[in-house]
């Protein structure tokens, strides 16, 4: 991000139950409507009341790639936030706090403390979250915005709760605005206006919407953080979109129900996190064996086991690669951003429909629970739909073999309900007609043919997926390689390195399977120094890439403390590696959340 354009991060810290989400949403809407881009990350804990939450909302005039390295405006809803984060605030920043309840610490030089006498300004309101409204008013003044902007946003967000609620909030917000205008120094430049209004979504919304746009008609889930947002979106919108949404007893049931629906010819999907995905794995193999296309979404969180439910990690790569017993292929896509996740859904559905096999979307907490702006013109709500060899209006023409061994390996698929095409699909090995060759009629020749047929159809379809390309300068001192959600932070780190005179380029991997080994090897052939960036300890991606390409990276930047990378973690890692040939650099998380 260029230095003379807007780059501002607002952080709101408090305890769960203090209503941080509301000012976060109000601000996000205000900024996006103004045409400003935003990227927000909510560091929280697995607790419904109490604990510590820090919502970081970064805005800019161009696409914002990460939640950034610093905070410009900190709202302390409790003492804990002040104690934890005042020391992160640098020159030119402002710290808002409820002066009735929070003791400010000793700020660094140039930090503006903005006390808010909440009781006085809210006229002793009994409303426990009134300080949020007050702080919104204060922020409007600090940001150089007109009060009317906030007034409109409050009306829209709170309108459902009635005029009384809107009225109280507007009065208090106004008091905060006036208080700030009288007492505090605003930012040097008021917020600019972008060329057109932008939309706001969470990554899970983007995934769900992508599924709906792809034609999903059946969605099943068991609640699990950080994937529940997909369920909530589906539950909210399913009825009006004609999508069946089921909350099921466990993820085993979820996956099998999804497969049952998919076999009827509907597009079906389900989402979970690593633990639930572990329960789904046997079913994923059954979809491969019965040749039923379905999409399984794994939103990674820090593991193993229950792990840290509200923290992020890229720790399930091995799990998705090895999901289910036996020897078979599945598509695996790791989107780079919320928009990429949206686009990946119809793409993945087309692929699994064409290859009649399971597909996995690998997201993580950072993408799925983050809130981002998007340009409405980039969101293709009517994507191309390709159902492959699904035949919905068949005319009987003799003996139908569900698993006909064709040149491409793809067999025409007629779902149940059609006359003249009665057949049985089985998780046992079977012949072309679907007759079991697992018990009485074992036959090595047929077994071999069926294994090869399934492999061939996957290869046929996978060949159409575009390989990754090197981004940035062709020659560079360092080539950074990452997969999935690290895309934005790496791109930003490369820009920062360039400002410091270090030339770096980027190979971002989106498709895990098929892995474009040849393209990756070519892209890395001339790399001076390959550094793999991933959010785990053991280097799952590095191992996988080495296995697929034979290429060993020169060094690694890894983080496994539950928090995502921010750009300076990568920048400092690269510097350290260049200076000292450090084999594995592990950045320290400074912001304790």
């Amino acid at each position: 991000m260029s230095k003379d354009t807007l780059d501002l991060t607002i952080a709101v810290g408090g305890a769960a139950g203090q209503g941080i989400a509301t000012p976060g949403n109000v601000l996000a809407r205000i900024f996006a409507r103004r045409g400003l881009h935003l990227y927000s990350y909510n560091a929280h804990q697995s607790i419904i009341r109490g604990g510590h939450i820090l919502l970081m909302l970064r805005i800019g005039e161009q696409e914002v790639l990460s939640h950034g390295d610093r905070m410009d405006l900190l709202v302390c809803l409790n003492q804990d936030t002040m104690d934890r984060h005042l020391r992160h605030m640098g020159e030119g920043s402002s710290v808002l706090y409820n002066s009735d309840a929070v003791e400010p610490g000793e700020p660094k030089a140039g930090v503006q403390l903005c006390p808010m006498p909440v009781k006085e300004l809210s006229h002793d309101s009994k409303n426990k979250v009134i300080q949020n409204t007050l702080s919104l008013g204060v922020m409007m003044s600090l940001l150089g915005l007109e009060f009317g902007v906030l007034q409109d946003a409050l009306k829209q967000m709170l309108g459902k709760k009635g005029d009384h609620v809107v009225g109280e909030n507007v009065v208090v917000a106004r008091a905060g605005f006036d208080h700030a205008s009288r007492n505090f120094r605003p930012l040097p430049k008021p917020l600019p206006q972008g060329p057109k209004p932008l939309g706001v979504w969470a990554g899970n919304d983007a995934i769900a919407l992508g599924g709906a746009a792809a034609g999903v008609k059946f969605y099943a889930a068991y609640p699990m953080s950080p994937a529940s947002g997909v369920l909530h979106w589906m539950a909210q919108n399913g009825r009006s979109l004609g999508i069946m949404v089921r909350q099921v007893e466990d993820e085993i049931g979820v996956a099998n129900m999804t497969i049952g629906a998919a076999h009827m010819g509907v597009r079906a999907m389900c989402a979970t996190s690593g633990g639930g995905f572990a329960l789904m794995t046997e079913a994923i193999g059954s979809a491969a064996m019965m040749e039923i296309p379905a999409v399984f979404i794994n939103v990674m969180r820090a593991g193993p086991s229950t792990g840290v439910p509200t923290k992020t990690e890229q720790g399930d790569l091995r799990q998705v690669l090895g999901a289910s017993q036996g020897d078979f292929e599945r598509f695996i896509v790791a989107p780079k951003s919320a928009l990429d996740a949206f686009d990946s859904m119809p793409e993945l559905f087309n692929l699994v429909d064409r290859a009649q096999c399971p597909g996995i979307l690998l997201s993580d907490l950072l993408i799925s629970e983050g809130t981002f702006s998007f340009d409405p013109d980039d969101v293709k709500l009517h994507p191309e739909i390709d159902r492959g060899a699904l035949v919905l209006d068949p005319s009987p023409n003799g003996d139908y073999h569900r698993y006909a061994d064709t040149k491409t390996g793809i067999s025409p698929r007629v779902p149940p309900g059609h006359e003249g095409f009665v057949h049985v699909v089985a998780t046992d090995e079977h012949d072309e007609a679907g007759t079991l060759i697992s018990d009485e009629f074992t036959n090595p020749l047929i077994r071999r043919r069926m294994v090869e047929k399934r492999a061939r159809k996957f290869e046929t379809v996978a060949a159409d997926i575009a390989p990754p390309e090197l981004e940035g300068p062709k020659t560079a001192e360092v080539t950074l390689v990452g997969f999935g959600s690290t895309y934005g932070v790496i791109r930003e780190a490369i820009a920062q390195l360039a400002d410091d005179g270090v030339k770096a380029n980027h190979l971002a991997i989106k498709w895990i399977v098929p892995f474009h080994a040849e393209a990756v090897a070519n892209a890395l052939a001339k790399a001076k120094r390959i550094v793999i960036v991933e959010n785990n300890y053991t280097g799952q991606f590095a191992q996988y890439m080495r296995g697929e390409t034979g290429i060993t990276a020169h060094a690694h930047i890894r983080k496994y403390d539950g928090e995502p990378f921010t750009p300076h973690h990568v920048v400092e890692g690269v510097r350290e590696i260049l200076a000292r040939e450090t084999p594995v650099y592990v950045p320290t998380q400074e912001v304790m959340v």
Binding site: G215, K217, G242, M257, M264, D399, E432, T435
Partner: protein, 305 residues
């Protein structure tokens, strides 16, 4: 398309089958001679025939185990799924195409052991499925270990000194969890069983039909003579199937008298497929156009702006 040398191809009929044998599948069952499952298969085929079901509108979903091989022996659409998972797969299938008649089949290990959790929840959802469990009180395909319905003290390969666990009661479990049709049949009385299956298929809601289907190879404790001496039809006893307490009392009888027949039926609770708003006044999901309409797309976009 190459022709399988193993399968006997059958051409499905555009008319209602004229005999139960037209519901026979591509291959003959590979069950042990004398297996109770033959009687269940025959009763199911006869029930389908007598109800005039068209094979292409019928879906039979099973799990894994000897009895779960059944879909391959039927002339109907079939899914031979994972061990214990017939009910969720059948549920997904029914919800995606509620015009099909969906029957789930399997054994006691499949349905009451590894798949037990699904039985409880499928019962409470009261989805319109018929679930036929061939209950032989043993694991047969794995060559003879105790099952969830094996009696206390039963000696098997996995309990050589006798089992020290009590069996579950599938009938009271199903009633307690909300199944709206709960019956028990005996493979040795195919006529009675056919009637129970027919009524189960016709019943709107989740129907569990537990069937004594003796394993002649691995369970010599509960063989055909054992049941023949004991089974007594509830219909002959004047049992009122709307009385769940009496149904549970009858289901707990396990001695000189063991009851078969319709234990419980209720018709006052609508089925899941009728209650689900997305299915109301609309064609099956499987026949709906994909993607978003312009209006839907615009409304969704507006909400995010």
């Amino acid at each position: 398309m190459s022709q399988s040398t193993l399968a006997t191809p059958i051409t499905e009929l555009p008319r209602t089958p004229s005999a139960p044998k037209e519901y026979k599948g591509r291959v003959a069952p590979d069950w042990c001679p004398g297996c109770g499952d033959f009687g269940v298969l025959n009763a199911l085929q006869r029930a389908c025939f007598e109800l005039g079901l068209m094979p292409h509108q019928l879906l039979v979903v099973s799990g894994i185990g000897c009895s779960s091989n059944l879909p391959g022996y039927m002339n109907a659409y079939g899914m031979h799924t994972l061990h214990g998972r017939s009910l969720p797969v059948a549920t997904g299938a029914k919800l995606a195409n509620h015009e099909l008649t969906v029957i789930a089949t399997g054994g006691d290990g499949d349905g009451y052991g590894i798949g037990g959790n699904h039985l409880m929840h499928t019962a409470r959802r009261n989805i319109d499925l018929t679930y036929i469990v061939m209950d032989n009180q043993i694991y047969g395909l794995t060559t003879g270990q105790i099952s969830p319905t094996s009696r206390f003290d039963m000696k098997t390969k996995s309990t050589p000194q006798g089992s020290v666990e009590w069996p579950i009661n599938p009938l009271t479990s199903a009633i307690m969890n909300g199944a709206s049709y709960v019956a028990r049949g005996f493979s040795g009385d195919p006529k009675h069983l056919t009637e129970l299956i027919k009524a189960g298929i016709q019943h709107e809601g989740f129907a569990l039909i537990d069937v004594f289907s003796p394993c002649v190879t691995f369970n010599l404790d509960n063989d055909f003579p054992f049941f023949k001496e004991r089974v007594t039809k509830l219909e002959d006893e004047g049992h009122d199937p709307s009385d769940w307490k009496s149904a549970c009392e009858k289901a707990m009888e396990w001695g000189e008298t063991i009851y078969t027949g319709l234990f419980f039926r209720s018709t006052d609770r609508p089925t899941l497929d009728r209650l689900e708003p997305v299915l109301q006044n609309a064609p099956p999901l499987a026949r709906r156009p994909l993607g978003l309409s312009d209006d839907q797309a615009q409304a969704l976009m507006r909400r995010m702006m």
